[in-house]
Amino acid sequence: MKKIMFGAALAAISLSSPALADTISVAPGEGAQERLQEALIVAQPGDTVELGAGRFVLTDGLSLDVDGVTVRGAGQDASVLDFTGQLAAGEGLLVTSDNVTLRDFAVENSKGDGIKSKGADNIVYARLRVEWTGGPKETNGSYGVYPVESVGVLIDGVIVKGASDAGIYVGQSKQIIVRNSVAMYNVAGIEIENSRDARVTGNYVSRNTGGILVFDLPNLPNLVNAGNFGGNVRVDHNLIIANDTPNFAPKGNIVASVRKGTGVMVMANENVEVADNVIADNGTAGVLVVAYPLSFGDAKYNPYPRNVLIDDSNSFVRNGRDPQYEGGAQMAAAFGGALPPVIWDGLGKNALVVANGIAALSLGLAAQGTDVSQAHPAPAAGVGKDLRLAPLAPVTLPDAIEIRAQQ
C-alpha cells in the first residue's frame, strides 16, 4: 500500500525532507492496530502516514518516533482513532520526534491522555478532534492534546471535549501558539503550565469548569526552560463563555481545585496579558489571579502572580454572579448580585495591573496558603495602565511550521 508521491510542494515544506517523500496509506479494518503502528515505525523523515476515512478500532496506544513525519486523516470527523477498547499505554497517540505534523483526524475515548508529545520540537496539531464521547466524566482521560518539554508548539483548529483535566494542555515548553481551537466540557479548557512565551488566541472556550488557566507548579524539572518557571503568556481574542460544568477532576490534581465558573485563572506566573477577550457568564470570576495555595518544598519556586495585566480591551459580561467558594454568595449579594469581573487573592507584590475602568476585587488573604474562607474582601485599588511593564514580545513560530499547519 505504498504510494510514491512526486511532490515538489511536499519537498519544499520541510528542510529535512528528501526530494522524494512516500505516502503510506492505512485503512481502517482488520489488523488496524498492527498495520497503523508498523506504518508509524517504518515511515522515514518526510513521509506521510495517511489515515483512510472510517473508524480505526484500536487496543493499544500508538506511537511515532520518526522526525519530520506527517500523520494526516480525511478530516476531524472522518478518520477516527477509536480507543474505547484500549488495554494499555498512557495515551492514545504518543509522539517523541521533532517536526511532526498531526492533522485532520480524531482520537476518541483514549483511557489516558488523547495525544501526547514529549520532547517533540516544532510540532503541529492542526484540525484534530480529541473527544470523550460520553460527556464529562471522572473516568475520562486526563489531557486531550498534551505537548510537554518541547520548543515550538502550534495547536490550530483543534477541538477537545470531555478531558478530566485540561482539554489543551501545554506543559514545560516554550514558543507556543494555541489558536482557533475549541475546548468544551473539560475541567480546564486550555492550560499553559510551567511554560514560557505562549500565545492563546482566537479560541472558543465554553462549558468547561474553568476556561483558560495559566499556572506554575513547584518541583518540576522544566528542562526546556533551563529550570525557569512560566511566564510571558498572552491570552487574547478568545471567547470565554459560560464555563459552568461542575468540576469532575479526580482530587489530588491541581485542577480539582478550580472552581466552576472560572473564566481565566492565572496562578503563580509572571508577565501575563489578558486582552481583547469576550469573557461572559462565568459565575465565579471573569479573571481570577491567585498565588499557589498549597505548601511546597521548592526553594526556587515563586508562588505569587507577577505583573498580570488585565486590559480594558476585554469585554466582561455577567461574570461573578455565582461565586463557588465559601462566603461567595454573601459577597456577591454585598456587591448587588455580581462580583467585579477581576478577582485577586490579594497576594504578591506587583501582582496585578488592571486597566482603568475594569473593576477588581481583592480577597485580602493574609498569606500564601490562607484559605479563602479567611478573606477580607475589598475593592482592589485601581491601577493605571501606565504602570504596566514593557508589553510582551509577540510569539512567532518559524514559517515552516506555519506552512505545515495550513496545508
Binding site: E38, I41, G112, D113, S142, L220, P250, G252
Partner: protein, 338 residues
C-alpha cells in the same frame, strides 16, 4: 519463579552443552551490526537450537538481583559480546557493552511443565547506536518472528500464590521498547547494572576476558527472592529502581513528572515523599501525595501499582496484572516512614 542460571556455567557454557562436546553454534555478527531488521530471531544464530535454549558460543546467561516485573513471566537473559571485544565497567552503573554486542531476553510461562516462550526481545549495539526489536514465538515454538508493531497474546498461568491468572500479554512494539529504553531520547540498555548483579558473576566475566575490571559497588541491590532477609527500604528502593527508574529519571520518558525513583536518588521530594502529582490526571485516585509517609493506602505510588486500567496503571507498559509482592514491598517501605 525465576529460572535459575548456574553462575558456574558461564565460563564453560560456551564450549560444553549438556556435558558433551558438540559443535557449538556461532553468532552471526553481521546480523547484529548490519543495517535492517532481521525477520527471524534465528537469523542472529544466538542459539544452537530452534527453541532458543542452548546459547551459542559467547552468549552468556545472566540474572539480576532485583528484576523488572513482567506479568510473572519467566525470563531468560543473555549477553553477547563479540569475540575479541570487551565490556567496560562503569562504577556501579550500566556495564558499557562494545559495538557488536547484544542483550537477548526471552519471556515465557510454564505450560504442562515446560517453559513456553511468548517473545524474545533483542537489544543490538550497532555503530549508530542501540536498536530494540521484539520477536514473537509461533505455536510450534520453533521460530520467533519480528513484530515491529507489537502484539497481544492471551496467557493463563499460576502465580506464586498458586492462583490462576488470565491476562492479555502485551508484546511491546519497537517504539514502546524505546519508551522504557530511552535516555535523553536515545535507545540505551536499562541494564545490566553492576549494582544489580552478583559479584562472583562479574568476577567470572573479568576472568573470561569479557569485562575489563570488576566494578566497584558500594551497596548491591538485594536479591529479590531473599528479600525477607534484606532491609525493607533497600528492597523497596531496589524494586523502584528496577521497575520505575528507567522512565522516572531526569533523562527518561517520565522526566516531566519530576518524580525520580532511581536507587541513587536522595532528594525526598524527587522520590515522591510529600510530592503532589503533576500530570497524573485520574491516576491520582483522589489522593494528594505520591508517597504519604506512613500511609501506603493514601500514596498515589501504591495506588497506581495496584490498578490495571490504562491512564492509571503504572508502569504504563508491560503490566497487565498486579504484582502483589512488589506492591507489598513498596507499601512496607512507605508504612515505616515517618
Amino acid at each position: 519463579m525465576i529460572r535459575g542460571v548456574s553462575l558456574a556455567a558461564i565460563g564453560i557454557a560456551t564450549t560444553l552443552v549438556l556435558g558433551a562436546t558438540v559443535p557449538v553454534a556461532k553468532v552471526d555478527d553481521a546480523a547484529i551490526t548490519a543495517a535492517g531488521f532481521p525477520a527471524q530471531l534465528s537469523d542472529y544464530r544466538f542459539f544452537g537450537d530452534a527453541k532458543a535454549r542452548d546459547p551459542a558460543e559467547g552468549v552468556i546467561p545472566y540474572r539480576l538481583n532485583t528484576p523488572l516485573f513482567s506479568d510473572y513471566a519467566e525470563k531468560l537473559r543473555y549477553l553477547y559480546i563479540p569475540d575479541g571485544r570487551q565490556a567496560k565497567a562503569n562504577g556501579e552503573g550500566l556495564i558499557a557493552l562494545p559495538v557488536g554486542s547484544a542483550i537477548i531476553k526471552s519471556f515465557g510461562y510454564e505450560h504442562d511443565g515446560n517453559l513456553r516462550l511468548i517473545e524474545t526481545r533483542v537489544l543490538l549495539h550497532r555503530a549508530d547506536g542501540w536498536l530494540a526489536l521484539p520477536y514473537v514465538w509461533n505455536d510450534a515454538q520453533d521460530a520467533a518472528m519480528l513484530k515491529l508493531g507489537g502484539s497481544r497474546v492471551p496467557v493463563t498461568f499460576i502465580d506464586p500464590s498458586g492462583a490462576t491468572r488470565s491476562i492479555s500479554y502485551a508484546v511491546p512494539n519497537k517504539n514502546q521498547c524505546k519508551e522504557c529504553h530511552a535516555v535523553n531520547g536515545v535507545v540505551t540498555p536499562i541494564g545490566p547494572k553492576a549494582r544489580n548483579m552478583d559479584a562472583a558473576f562479574l568476577a567470572q566475566l573479568v576472568a573470561a576476558g569479557k569485562l575489563d575490571a570488576e566494578p566497584k559497588v558500594a551497596q548491591r541491590l538485594p536479591v529479590w527472592e531473599d528479600r525477607a532477609n534484606a532491609p525493607v527500604e533497600a528492597v523497596a528502593r531496589a524494586y523502584l529502581d528496577a521497575n520505575c527508574a528507567h522512565c522516572h529519571r531526569a533523562e527518561g520518558s517520565a522526566s516531566n513528572s519530576g518524580l525520580s525513583l532511581g536507587w541513587e536518588v536522595a532528594d525526598s521530594v524527587a522520590l515522591g515523599i510529600g510530592k503532589r502529582p503533576t500530570a497524573a490526571g485520574r491516576g491520582s485516585g483522589d489522593l494528594d501525595f505520591d508517597v504519604a509517609p506512613g500511609d501506603p493506602a493514601h500514596s498515589i505510588l501504591v495506588h497506581r501499582m495496584k490498578r490495571l486500567e490504562p491512564g492509571v496503571a503504572m508502569p504504563e507498559l508491560g503490566r497487565a496484572t498486579v504484582h502483589d509482592e512488589g506492591v507489598a514491598a513498596v507499601a512496607a517501605w512507605i508504612a515505616r516512614m515517618r
